[in-house]
């Protein structure tokens, strides 16, 4: 099928493009961009009046929960949530059951996503077998099968020697090692940021140092080995500073943050809403400001979702025993657009942090409107407001602290490998 998207403002950071173009799609590929009114005849025309037309978003940090936790999310529902949120590529973390530490699991995820998925799925393999920080998993075999990065996300690689080996060994095939930075001794039992609010709530805190110690360690190991390090879900001012300094010293490190770390502070936890329980925890106003600065000056390359869907049973009741995580795919773009509205980022930079930047880090040919690229496109109405209603999420995980928020910027249509998803 031939599709023409017209009347929109096309923004493609990968080609430094921003203007009134028409996007012509044939099958699962973009054939090219044409000046306004010059697009070829198509079987279907999408009218993108009052909208921006951007490359489909790329999430380099998603939990799809399958295999093993299908009651929380499946590849089918998670990828539906992705396209609903304007994402056409997700990279799924390996903390499933079984852990994605063998080619069998990698193959399963890829096959299942081709069969049932609404968008492209790239698996992230485990760094260590069963994520136990003891022995390296078969990184090369998983890379060959389709893993685009390695991470023990959900838990840190506690053993520094193993982390060193991972950063060294992965140099063979030039993939990033994604680090979940957490000193588990310092964070033990903690359920929120350590500070005045945790004192007032009587909840056990996780100090920022628990994250920063591991960021510092991994930067040192990255410098030692010359490997490729990517820091996941940066939440604290200290981490931003460490990464900024490492980049200035020419160390090969990249970093991501998530919408909740620039949209929320720990004060939101007054009232004990378990939807705010996330690891690392949301921090303070000072950290939020530092993260915004880090996004602006390029210290933080990527905005990822850390989409962590949970069943309501895992989130209800005691704050201490509720699961960590936020269902984020369906609110990430609108929360990112708040950064544009307030002047922290310009629109092109925001889109770059959700398209070209993660694609480059993961080494995947996504996040671009170049000719012959995959037909992955999102059509966004920037002026439209909506009230977040998590009960209507396509994700199985309704666990959103943004439920009830009024946000601006609606996904009108998503095109994923030429398939059109119509949201209005």
């Amino acid at each position: 099928m031939k599709i023409l998207i017209k009347n929109g403002r096309v923004i493609d950071p990968s080609n430094n493009l921003d203007g009134p173009h028409e996007v012509f799609i044939e099958g699962a590929r973009i054939k090219g961009l044409f000046p306004k009114g010059k697009g070829p005849k198509a079987d279907r025309t999408i009218d993108a009046s009052d909208c921006i037309v951007i490359p489909g978003l790329v999430d380099m940090h998603t939990h799809l929960r399958e295999p093993g936790f299908e009651y929380k999310e499946t590849i089918m529902t998670g990828t539906k949530a992705a396209v609903r949120g304007g994402f056409t590529t997700v990279c799924c973390m390996p903390n499933t059951n079984p852990v994605n530490d063998t080619i069998a699991v990698t193959e399963f995820i890829i096959e299942k996503s081709l069969k049932e998925g609404s968008c492209t799925v790239y698996p992230i393999g485990a760094i260590t077998k069963a994520q136990k920080s003891e022995e390296l998993a078969e990184l090369e075999a998983m890379k060959r099968t389709g893993c685009v990065a390695f991470s023990d996300d959900g838990r840190p690689v506690t053993n520094s020697l193993i982390m060193r080996r991972a950063l060294e060994y992965s140099k063979i095939f030039d993939v990033p090692i994604i680090s979940h930075c957490e000193d588990v001794y310092l964070s033990e039992g903690g359920v929120m940021n350590e500070g005045f609010v945790s004192t007032i709530l009587g909840l056990k805190g996780v100090p920022k140092a628990a994250e920063e110690i591991m960021v510092a360690r991994d930067i040192a190991l990255c410098e030692l080995t010359g490997g490729r390090l990517h820091i996941a879900h940066v939440s604290s001012e200290g981490s931003v500073k460490l990464i900024r300094d490492a980049k200035a010293r020419g160390i090969n490190v990249t970093a991501e943050t998530c919408p909740h770390y620039f949209s929320l502070t720990d004060e939101a936890l007054m009232g004990y809403d378990t939807n705010l329980k996330v690891n690392p925890p949301v921090r303070t106003k000072k950290d939020v400001e530092a993260i915004k600065l880090g996004l602006r000056d390029g210290t933080i390359d990527v905005i990822a979702t850390d989409h962590a869907p949970h069943h309501a049973d895992d989130k209800i009741g005691e704050f201490d025993s509720a699961a960590f995580g936020i269902s984020g795919l369906e609110t990430a773009l609108a929360l990112g657009l708040q950064l544009v509205a307030e002047g922290t980022l310009d629109l092109k930079h925001l889109i770059a942090k959700m398209t070209t930047a993660p694609s480059k880090i993961m080494g995947i040919a996504k996040g671009t409107l170049s000719a012959d690229a995959d037909a992955d496109i999102a059509v966004i109405n920037l002026a439209n407001s909506f009230v977040v209603d998590s009960s209507k999420f396509l994700s199985k995980g309704k666990n959103s602290p943004f439920n009830g928020w009024t946000l601006k910027g609606t996904v009108e249509k998503t095109v994923s490998l030429g398939r059109i998803f119509d949201w209005i």
Binding site: S198, L201, G202, L203, Y272, D314, I316, G317, E318, D320
Partner: protein, 306 residues
């Protein structure tokens, strides 16, 4: 006067509400001095004591308070080991609601559980201690006790000694005494001081002798003995040497200072027996006052329109 259907913490109370509870408790204390100690205001009402943490004192105090007011009382004790998931807590709460209870008195090791129940249930929820958050009736009975000896709270110096970090009693008392104009001192090792607690209007002392000087009220907290294995202090002996309340050290406080403890005591750890049983101790008086205060809380919440 009382608008909220629940007593979740001292944080949520106004000064007026606190005094209103204390005045009401004073009337009930008179009732408790009578030969016949039972009054009828809660006849036909049901109070459920829902205790997820072992507690004898607080539970029997609430039980007796409810019975003195002619309420029916159900004790529902659940060991935390049998509670695996939050779903169980929700189910338990809904079960209590279905039974037609009017009050639920909740004790739980996890902070925020009373708030969760408060949202889930339209009956009155009374916090009998939640994690390290609050134990409001303990603070109210402590205020009541101090008032009965000192006649006023404003201007007094209250020294709280021990494990502040893990103590809901300390938190509730900090809020209670500062709201009523007292000066609160926290005396503890830096390992047992909560994060950024200095944002509250308190003074911190790492040295017990310094902190005790000229205090009007000296309150020792119970030390959970397992804290030692978590590295908060090296040995119980060292803790006692640094922070144990002895009669020698008590001399640094004002001559008429009173000594309090929320119980149960670890004699020889946070407090010496000579002090616990000495002339300045009002520890048993606290227990009696607890009954009057809990009667007042039940009575006042019963009058709130739901």
């Amino acid at each position: 006067m009382f608008k909220a259907k629940d007593l979740l913490g001292i944080k949520e109370l106004t000064t007026e509400e606190i005094y209103h509870i204390l005045d009401t408790a004073s009337n009930f204390k008179d009732v408790l001095k009578r030969d016949i100690k039972k009054v009828p205001p809660l006849r036909g009402r049901t109070v459920v004591n829902l205790f997820f943490e072992p507690s004898t004192r607080t539970r029997i105090s609430f039980e007796l308070a409810a019975k003195r007011l002619s309420a029916d009382v159900i004790n529902f004790s659940i060991t935390t080991s049998s509670v695996v998931k939050g779903e169980t807590l929700k189910d338990t709460a809904l079960t209590i609601k279905a039974l037609g209870a009017d009050f639920v008195v909740i004790r739980h090791s996890s902070a925020g559980v009373p708030h969760f129940l408060s949202r889930l249930l339209d009956i009155s929820v009374i916090n009998a201690g939640d994690g390290a958050n609050e134990h409001p009736t303990q603070a109210l009975l402590d205020l009541f006790t101090v008032l009965s000896y000192k006649r006023k709270i404003k201007g007094l110096t209250i020294a709280i000694i021990g494990d502040i970090t893990h103590s809901r009693v300390a938190r509730s008392n900090i809020y209670a005494f500062t709201k009523l104009g007292a000066k609160v001192r926290l005396i503890c090792p830096p390992t047992l001081l909560p994060s950024e607690v200095n944002n509250l209007e308190i003074e911190v002392f790492n040295n017990l002798e310094e902190g005790l000087k000229k205090a009007d009220v000296v309150m020792a907290l119970r030390l959970q003995l397992e804290r030692q294995s978590k590295g908060f202090f090296p040995t119980l002996e060292e803790y006692f040497n640094l922070y144990g309340l002895t009669s020698e050290r008590l001399k640094l406080a004002k001559d008429d200072a009173i000594v309090m403890h929320p119980g149960p005591m670890n004699r020889g750890v946070e407090i010496e027996s000579d002090v616990a049983d000495g002339p300045q101790s009002v520890i048993l008086e606290q227990v009696t006052n607890g009954l009057a205060v809990r009667m007042a809380v039940l009575y006042l919440l019963a009058g709130v329109k739901k």
